[in-house]
C-alpha cells in the first residue's frame, strides 16, 4: 500500500514494539480466563475447588474437541455449521447400531468398542462428504453445511420418531465408565480433550499439512500457484473436523445413553465462538489451537460462575457469553 522504504533495515526498537503487541494479542484470552477465575473465586470459594475445575473441564470437553477441528476449518477459510446436528445424528445411529449388534454379539464390551469406532468413522465420512461438496461441487461451505445442519437433525428426528433413541441398559452399564471414570484424578473426557488439543496443535504448527491449511486460508490463489493441492487439503480439513465430532460424540453417548432431537443443539455456535474467542480470525489464515482450548474453557467458566453465584441471573448465561464474544472481537479488530 504505502511505498514503504523498508529497504533500509527497520530499527530494532520498531521490531520489538511489534512483537510485544502480537504477544499481548496472544496472551489476551489467557489473561481473560485468569481474571475470570479470580473473579469466580472471590464470588464463591467453591469455584476454586478441584472438583469444580474437573466438572468444568469435563463439560468443556465435547465443545472443546469439536472446536479443535473447527479451528482447522476456520483457519483454512471455511466454516461448518452442521456439527451439532452431526453429533446428534452420529449418537443416534451409533446407539441404534449397538442395540442391533447386542442381539447377535454377546460381548457387550466388543459392541461398545464397535460403536465407538463407528462414531469416529461416521464423523469422518460426513466430513468427507462436506469437503467433496465444497471442493468438487464448488459450493460455499456456509451453504453446504447449512443444508446438512437441517438434513442431519431431520434424519435423527425421523429415526427416533420425534422422541429419544436410548441405549440398551446392559450396554449402558458397560459404556458409562468411559464418561464417568477418572484416571489419576482426571476424568477420561478431559484426557481425551487434552490429547486431541495437543495433537491438533502439533498438526497445525509442525506439519506440512498444517502450514498448507494456513496458506490456503491466508490466500488460496497464492497457495494454488505454490503447488499446494488446495482441494485435497480442504477435504482433509472437513474430514478431520468430522472425526473430532465423532470423538466428542463417543464421549457424549455414555453420559446420557440417548440421543434426541435436542441433542447437540447450538453446539456449532459454541464451537465457533470458542475458536473466535481464542483469537482465530473468522476470515482464516492464522489461528491457534491453544487459544481455541482457552476460548472453550473460558466460555464454560462463564456459565459455571453464573451457576455458582447470584450476581447475574443464570438465565443471562447466553447474554454474558455473547457480550464476551463481541468484546473479544472488538479488542482484536484490525491489528
Amino acid at each position: 500500500m504505502v511505498d514503504r522504504q523498508l529497504d533500509q533495515p527497520a530499527p530494532p526498537r520498531f521490531q520489538r514494539a511489534r512483537s510485544l503487541g502480537s504477544r499481548l494479542h496472544a496472551v489476551g484470552p489467557i489473561l481473560g480466563l485468569v481474571l475470570l477465575c479470580v473473579a469466580g473465586t472471590l464470588l464463591n470459594p467453591d469455584f476454586a475447588s478441584l472438583d469444580n475445575a474437573m466438572n468444568v473441564l469435563t463439560r468443556t470437553a465435547f465443545i472443546g474437541i469439536i472446536a479443535v477441528g473447527m479451528c482447522f476449518v476456520i483457519i483454512s477459510g471455511g466454516i461448518d455449521l452442521s456439527v451439532g446436528s452431526m453429533a446428534a445424528l452420529i449418537a443416534g445411529m451409533v446407539i441404534l447400531l449397538m442395540n442391533t449388534l447386542a442381539g447377535s454379539i454377546d460381548q457387550p464390551v466388543l459392541v461398545v468398542a464397535i460403536g465407538m469406532a463407528a462414531s469416529v468413522v461416521l464423523g469422518g465420512v460426513f466430513g468427507l462428504a462436506h469437503g467433496l461438496l465444497i471442493t468438487r461441487g464448488r459450493i460455499e461451505p456456509f451453504i453446504v453445511t447449512l443444508g446438512t445442519l437441517g438434513i442431519f437433525r431431520a434424519y435423527l428426528t425421523y429415526f427416533s420418531n420425534g422422541g429419544a433413541i436410548t441405549l440398551d441398559d446392559t450396554l449402558s452399564d458397560v459404556y458409562s465408565p468411559v464418561y464417568y471414570t477418572s484416571v489419576i484424578g482426571v476424568p477420561i473426557p478431559v484426557w481425551v480433550f487434552l490429547i486431541v488439543a495437543v495433537a491438533g496443535a502439533l498438526i497445525l504448527n509442525r506439519t506440512a499439512y498444517g502450514r498448507y491449511v494456513q496458506a490456503i486460508g491466508s490466500n488460496e490463489q497464492v497457495a494454488r500457484y505454490a503447488a499446494v493441492n488446495v482441494d485435497r487439503i480442504k477435504v482433509m480439513t472437513y474430514a478431520l473436523l468430522g472425526a473430532c465430532v465423532g470423538i466428542a460424540t463417543l464421549l457424549y453417548v455414555p453420559r446420557l445413553g440417548s440421543s434426541s432431537p435436542t441433542t447437540g443443539l447450538l453446539w456449532e455456535l459454541e464451537a465457533i465462538a470458542a475458536v473466535i474467542v481464542g483469537g482465530t480470525a473468522l476470515k482464516g489464515g492464522s489461528g491457534s489451537i491453544i487459544g481455541t482450548v482457552i476460548g472453550a474453557v473460558l466460555l464454560s467458566v462463564i456459565s459455571n460462575i453464573l451457576n455458582l453465584t447470584s450476581v447475574i441471573s443464570v438465565y443471562l448465561n447466553a447474554a454474558v457469553q455473547g457480550f464476551v464474544i463481541i468484546i473479544v472481537a472488538f479488542l482484536q479488530r484490525r491489528k
Binding site: V2, D3, Q5, D7, P9, T207, A208, V222, A227
Partner: protein
C-alpha cells in the same frame, strides 16, 4: 482552473522510521511532471500526502499560496487534487455513473437525481473519449476503459491536479497512445499532471519537467528535454549504472530440449502452441497485453482448463494436471501477480520461501531451524534486503518482495523455471540483480522462460524470443534478429512476412476485449 502547489520541508515518519526527510519543491500550474525514484524513494508517500491519504509529520503543504492540511482524500478532492491509484478504486458491480458519483451523489429532495448524474457522466466520458453507455457495470470494462473511468471521475469532481501512478502498467501501446493524447488535452485545459512511472521512455515523451527523489529526499527538478534516459536512471539510483544486462552467453546448440511442448491450447486464450527450451537457454515470450502469454503458461501448469498434445521433459513424455505435478517434474512458475498469486504477504519470509518445497522439511514434523537456515542462505544468495528475518513479506519493498518470490519458485530446485514479468514494478537496481540471477540460472543448465512486456529486457537477456499475438505463436526470433522493432512488428501484426502468410492483425482485437 489551475493550481499551484508548494511542498515546504515535508517530513513523514511511520513509527520511528523516517521516510521523507524534509522535501521542498513546487509544482507550477498546467505542467506535466514526471516523478522519478526507485521503490522506497518516498514518491508515493509524498503523493499520498498531497492527495490527502496521509498526513505529514512535519512541514507544510501550500496550495495556491495558502498553507493547507488535508484531513482526507475527500478534502484534497474538494481542492481539486485527485490521485489515480495503480490498482483502481472502482466498485466493480456498480455502473459507470454510480462509480463516478460514488460518495457525491446528486439528490433532488430525498431521491437521487439519476438524470442529472447520467448527463454529467456522458459529458465527462466524452471528454476522456470513452464511448460507453453510462449504465454499463464497471466489471464489463477492460483495464484501459476502467482507467478512463477513473480519469472521468476526477474530471467530474473538477480536478485541477491529477496524480497518475504507473498509469500505463497494463495498457497496450494503442491504449497508451490514447492516454497520452488525453493527457495533452487535459494539460491544454490547465490541469497539472504528476506522472509516476518507471518507464523512462514514456516520461521522456510526455512530461515537461522531471522531478527526481531518492531515499526520501528531493534530488533535482530539470526540464525533461535537457536529460537523457540514462541520466534520469543515474539520478534515480545515485550512482552510474552500467551494464544493466549481463553479457550474453552463446545460445546452447544441438542439445536435446529440456522441455518440449506441442499442441497446447487454452480455450479463449491460446491455440495450438508449440515451443521448446534447451538446457542453459533463456527463452523469451513477447506479446501485447491480452496476447495470451500468461494464460498459456497457467494452462501448461494446470491452473486453467487446457488441452495439450504432448509435453516432454528431457525427452520423456510427462503429464501435468496441476502445479504439484509440475513441481514434482521440476517445472516451476513465477506469477506476474506478486500480491495476488505470488506471495503470502501476511506470512513471514521463512514460510513463503519454503512453501513449494515444504515436504522436504517434513519428516514428518517440520523443522523451523532448517527452514531458518534456508532463509538465511536465500537472503544472501538473492540479495534480499530486510532488517530482520522475522518480518512479514508485506514489510519488504517491491523489489525485495520480488526477490523473495524468485527465491520461492527456485527453492524446489527446478530444471525449468518460467518467470512471468520477473521485473514488474521493481526499480533499476533490483532489475539488474534479477537479470544477473536469470543468467546464473541458465549457466547452471536450467531452462529459463521469461515472459515480459518490456521488450528491451527480452532483447537484452534472451537467446530466442517467441512472439504471441491473439492467442497464437506468430514468430520465433533468434538472437541475430533480436531487436525491439522486430518484436513489436510481430506483436502488433505489422510485420511484412507475417502478413504475407495471410495472417491479419484484426483477429486479436476480439481476444484482447476479454481482458
Amino acid at each position: 482552473m489551475s493550481i499551484a502547489v508548494r511542498f515546504d520541508g515535508i517530513v513523514k515518519e511511520f513509527g520511528p522510521v523516517r521516510v521523507l526527510h524534509g522535501v521542498s519543491f513546487d509544482l507550477a500550474p498546467g505542467r506535466v511532471y514526471g516523478l522519478l525514484g526507485e521503490n522506497g524513494a518516498g514518491k508515493s508517500t509524498l503523493m499520498k500526502i498531497l492527495s490527502g491519504y496521509e498526513r505529514p509529520t512535519g512541514g507544510t503543504l501550500h496550495i495556491d499560496g495558502e498553507p493547507r492540511s488535508f484531513k482526507s482524500s475527500r478534502d484534497a478532492e474538494a481542492a481539486g487534487i485527485v490521485l489515480i491509484h495503480q490498482e483502481f478504486n472502482l466498485a466493480e458491480d456498480l455502473t459507470i455513473t454510480q462509480n463516478i458519483f460514488l460518495g457525491h451523489e446528486r439528490k433532488r429532495g430525498w431521491w437521487l437525481d439519476e438524470a442529472a448524474m447520467r448527463a454529467d457522466t456522458l459529458r465527462v466520458l466524452r471528454q476522456v473519449g470513452l464511448d460507453k453507455d453510462p449504465d454499463t457495470p464497471v466489471r464489463h470494462l477492460i483495464v484501459a476503459e476502467k482507467q478512463l473511468v477513473e480519469i472521468a471521475k476526477a474530471l467530474a469532481r473538477n480536478a485541477r491536479l491529477l496524480i497518475m501512478d504507473e498509469p500505463t502498467a497494463s495498457l497496450t501501446p494503442g491504449e497508451t497512445e490514447a492516454l497520452f493524447t488525453l493527457m495533452a488535452r487535459l494539460q491544454a485545459d490547465g490541469v497539472t499532471i504528476v506522472y509516476i512511472s518507471h518507464k523512462l521512455d514514456e516520461v521522456e515523451r510526455t512530461t515537461d519537467d522531471v522531478i527526481v527523489m531518492r531515499d526520501g529526499r528531493f534530488v533535482t527538478r530539470q526540464p525533461t528535454r535537457e536529460l537523457t534516459r540514462h541520466q534520469m536512471a543515474t539520478l534515480m539510483v545515485g550512482r552510474e549504472i552500467s551494464d544493466l544486462y549481463p553479457d550474453k552467453d552463446p545460445a546452447p546448440t544441438g542439445a536435446v530440449p529440456l522441455l518440449r511442448v506441442e499442441g497446447l491450447t487454452v480455450p479463449g486464450w491460446a491455440a495450438d502452441i508449440a515451443f521448446d527450451v534447451k538446457p542453459g537457454e533463456i527463452l523469451g515470450f513477447a506479446g501485447l497485453v491480452g496476447a495470451g502469454r500468461t494464460e498459456l503458461f497457467e494452462g501448461l501448469l494446470g491452473l486453467r482448463p487446457h488441452q495439450v498434445g504432448r509435453i516432454e521433459l528431457e525427452g520423456r513424455a510427462i503429464r501435468i494436471r496441476n502445479p504439484r505435478d509440475a513441481v514434482d517434474q521440476g517445472i516451476t512458475y513465477l506469477s506476474e501477480d506478486r500480491k495476488g498469486k505470488g506471495l503470502h504477504v501476511g506470512f513471514g519470509l521463512r514460510e513463503n520461501l519454503t512453501l513449494m518445497a515444504l515436504e522436504t522439511y517434513a519428516t514428518p514434523w517440520l523443522k523451523p531451524g532448517a527452514e531458518t537456515r534456508a532463509l538465511k542462505t536465500a537472503v544472501q544468495d538473492f540479495g534480499i534486503r530486510t532488517g530482520s528475518l522475522d518480518v512479514k513479506a508485506a514489510s519488504l519493498s517491491g523489489g525485495n518482495q520480488q526477490k523473495l518470490a524468485l527465491a520461492k519458485v527456485l527453492h524446489p530446485e527446478p530444471k525449468v523455471v518460467i518467470l512471468d514479468e520477473p521485473t514488474r514494478g521493481v526499480d533499476v537496481g533490483a532489475k539488474r540483480d534479477i537479470y544477473f540471477l536469470i543468467q546464473r540460472l541458465a549457466r547452471e543448465g536450467r531452462g529459463v522462460v521469461v515472459v515480459s512486456s518490456e521488450l528491451m529486457e527480452l532483447v537484452g537477456l534472451c537467446h530466442r524470443v517467441a512472439v504471441m499475438r491473439g492467442g497464437r505463436l506468430r514468430a520465433m526470433v533468434d538472437a541475430q534478429h533480436l531487436t525491439e522493432e522486430e518484436l513489436i512488428s510481430h506483436a502488433t501484426g505489422t510485420n511484412q512476412r507475417d502478413q504475407a502468410n495471410g495472417d491479419k492483425p484484426s483477429e486479436e482485437e476480439s481476444m484482447t476485449a476479454g481482458r
